[in-house]
Subunit: 338 residues, 4 copies
């Protein structure tokens, strides 16, 4: 009789709560997202193969390999809110100028001589550099060197798709004109700024990879975080707040032999190994990584990191969605009792 | 050859962007969400039938009819971020005390003599009353009258599920003890408040339905909003900001014969008709509603409202996700040129 | 030789720091402001005499007795930042409509039937009522009853004078037209508000005296503040923050026989005794007060209050400058060790 | 008869408002502060003479020439809220480590090889450098070179004195130990910051003079401000907001032959001419300045600047109290109609 009722309701686009509560609600987050590791030794040959196999055309203007978490089979994304991908750009190739609601970052993995133009300013890209393309900023990129270049794309696209609020627009030309002098954004975010009201809150920006490594080395002697070693955020250059409202970028150094303590939090993160090797323990799983690899730590999963090497530091770049959860009052953290 | 490559990539949980871009990105949001109308004359008999058919037990302690948008077949929710449902509570029935990350509101449709206890305070529920149960507050409810009571539940559950950050906990007893005097929350949010620092930002609260109608009537002569008539938000009683960080509650009056202008915005809304009748035009569709009905307006859909009656005002209660979009910098609105 | 040098410097409007440091800097604030008590039994006859002696004319349109702290002989004000005064208004008298940078409050001491018009809204004034006139709002007042009325004016005029930023303007007519319906401000600050952006942050407002007493009585059983008994702030009705950016209004009840603990803070306060009697200990001094009296507690002075009566509660209204000091990061408090 | 009444009131520390309103209130600010110019060619010999005449001892440990505005004869300060002074430090001299509520800045005029230690970090001082000593931070300074050094002190001391909230404390030793590595503050305010909550909002800091000039030169082609040429603020390195809550530091370049438009505002400013020469028109007065001079522009005074030279840019450093006025809602500006 309940079955008949359920069927009748379904016709009217109604569903009894009892159907949902056939499974009682979980006391804690049980993420669909899985801990997962993508190996550079697999990914790099795939990138090379993509160059051979994928012909660029109108709708295929980029050779991008999207990391799809095994727990996100329907959403086809790296986490529920974030997308991490590898992009390879051959000498001479460009991506047409466009803009979208989605905010993006690029982190350069390999090769020199690429560029991203954002809102009329050209940003050179060297290994380790991080480039911010805030939501709704015009951008295009290309490779002016003689070598293929590889970078990581980080985007809040799964969030934007989920919310159903994405706009997309092509620029009137293939490449936008460079209207700003080099160092324009750097100057606007420096400690000397034009006196004016109604300043913007986001800015296209390039964080130098070399400078980041230098900062990490300079802080090697710090206590650091018990859960993350020397752990730094790329702050919003205008306000000192999170990188973006939807996404925070971080870089961390696990010192020789360092093994961090376990904790868990409601934010999730995608990591990329910049250098060194080690392991990340997520719940029951061990993700054993080396330079170039990427991996995911799901929400509310106990995890800790270990740099197994006594000879070399390990450096991890990561993106996470803690700014979103904090602004909703849904960020929560738990640390392992001693 | 691309197909082989795609298959190989899939084994490694990787996907080429070209697969996604087989369909070029849309210039504007193309919501999966559909405009849809649920008729009270269908829903009410279903509620009555639920009382007969659904036996309450351990996992089925509530008779709740969840409105499932035809565009949300997989998510089984009213919009991508919000859930609107009808609940019927028979005399003597209670819902066990519990709390969860999900924030909830109740809007009373029919019947007097129900109550919701939140964080030790008892809130009486009369038709038109709105009760706030902020995320993580203990709550239980029941019906002490001789008549069944019907209310609307509004929740940010689809957002919490999407983010994968939901906690849930039963209270140690069936009903929480009432530890606060009547009017406790009202007193804490009045214009005279204890001098103290570190005040909370959310509060359990009851907005009187009678007072809401009186306020609407008092403002009948206002210009109001060209898109929404006399349009009021239930503000956070502590800060004057949005009702919740995830969800805003509003009530509006379309005056006799009033026909609003069209606009569209990236937020989406679920409406419940408190009184009167009229039509809402959403894109190509006309939703013709009367008292007790519920309907959905998807993101970025042109819409306007009309009160067809020259004799009676129409009053609409609604919930929407504009606070979330605003905090992400993704709220956008467009109005129809004259 | 130093003297010659000092004299030469003085001619050029320069002064050696050594002249200032002839007295070494004090380790702690040594306020010029003195603890001081004005007795109602003196003030009231003075108000009556003012009616007889002071003829109202173009530049003397108000009979206001300004309390001048003995430590503020040059500034002629109640504290360095605040002015507290008594005003008496005879039946039929009005004060011309005007506005100024200075923000003002009125607290009614005696008599019914006066009114203050602020920005086109008429506010009735009964004993214990508090009326806010935010900076730059048009206001005028009068007495439509058959009895003289007495109220307290609280202003941030010493701060505005100090800063040298005061504007003043007469309205085009003696009295401003009433353009808002009764309850207009109350409605704008209620929990149901028009949905709009760019809302103002201050509002003309009336806090009912009866409601304030009722709230105090309802909280009689609270623990309250160890330093102030039941201590409530009149919060900004729009934001829940301090009454004004420059000035906070508070009301407190010292219960029968209650004697508070000592503390000191960098903010200073002017009190008015609404009802009851008691003593305030400020440093070495004892201020013994009864209904109608006013007194001052200087910055960084140890103080505590005692209601000596076992039969009656004592109620104190006060204004203080803590919002200013907090926004400058200069608010500091110290409590007496047990 | 009114006179007798006034005299009687005075005994009771009361004053009739009619005494104040003998002079009707001014429609606009009529600042006590005067436009005034101190010439370097006078000040420098005075500094040299101070070295000869003023012997340093316990209470005279600094040779500081305080600029005293002719309109501030009683307050003995440069403006109502700000103090600008010249300090000369001979080789080998130090100022004992101490801290106070007063916030301070140093701007180096002449000489290399001095240092300021703030909160355990040593900051070198070269011409044009700006050093921040936030309120309540430990500081001491000295001169390790073979030449006398001259700098400008900028303080919010008149405001702190006015408010009566100043604390002062000597460090346990003459000089504080250097506990931070060089570049410590720079690193804490860089775009890569440790991930942590509860971050401070102010920071000791050094802005390089060379970098400031370079920034000005780089912006020479900007439109700039119509009232101030190329006009830059030294922003808070942690938040991008004003330099201090009480005081903003700015530097501006008037290009060859540039003559700005007139405006006036409620904030007041103290200027120091870094290089070049020109005139500032304040009301009826012309202040004709050259390198090393200092001058004051009072609140609400029409003013504009002119660089008379066709050969050289003029650079002005200045401090002003706009952050204070903005936080009180009392900042107002007016521009000259065309």
């Amino acid at each position: 009789m309940l079955e008949t009722f359920d069927a009748d309701l379904a016709k009217r686009h109604i569903e009894g709560l009892w159907k949902m509560y056939a499974v009682p609600p979980s006391k804690e987050p049980k993420p669909a997202l899985k801990p997962y590791l993508w190996k550079w030794k697999d990914v790099y040959p795939d990138l090379v193969r993509a160059v051979e196999v994928v012909e660029l055309g109108v709708n295929e203007e980029r050779r991008v390999l999207r990391l799809v978490n095994p727990g996100m089979q329907r959403k086809r994304s790296t986490t529920q809110t974030l997308q991490m991908s590898f992009q390879i750009v051959n000498p001479g190739e460009i991506a047409r100028a466009h803009r979208h609601t989605i905010a993006a970052i690029r982190f350069v993995v390999k090769g020199k001589g690429a560029f991203t133009n954002v809102n009329g300013e050209k940003f050179e890209m060297a290994p380790g550099d991080l480039i911010l393309t805030p939501g709704c900023s015009w951008h295009d990129h290309g490779n002016e060197s003689a070598e293929p270049i590889v970078w990581i794309d980080g985007l809040d696209s799964p969030l934007v798709h989920y919310l159903g609020v994405g706009f997309f627009e092509h620029f009137s030309q293939e490449r936008q004109p460079i209207t700003q002098p080099p160092g324009y954004s750097l100057a606007r975010s420096g400690t000397l700024r034009p006196v004016q009201s109604g300043s913007p809150q986001t800015l296209p920006y390039r964080y130098s990879g070399e400078a980041a490594l230098e900062t990490l080395r300079a802080r090697k002697g710090d206590a650091g975080s018990p859960y993350d070693g020397v752990f730094l955020e790329y702050v919003n250059p205008l306000t000192g707040g999170h990188t973006f409202p939807t996404l925070s970028c971080c870089i961390q150094m696990l010192r020789r032999g360092e093994r961090t303590k376990g904790h868990r939090h409601t934010s999730s993160a995608c990591y990329h190994v910049v250098s060194g090797s080690g392991s990340t323990y997520v719940g029951e799983e061990i993700l054993t990584w080396e330079a170039g690899d990427c991996f995911v730590v799901p929400p509310w999963s106990w995890h800790n990191h270990a740099n197994g090497s006594r000879a070399e530091e390990a450096v991890l770049f990561s993106i996470n969605d803690s700014p979103l959860l904090e602004s909703l009052g849904m960020h929560r953290e738990e640390t392992l009792a001693e």
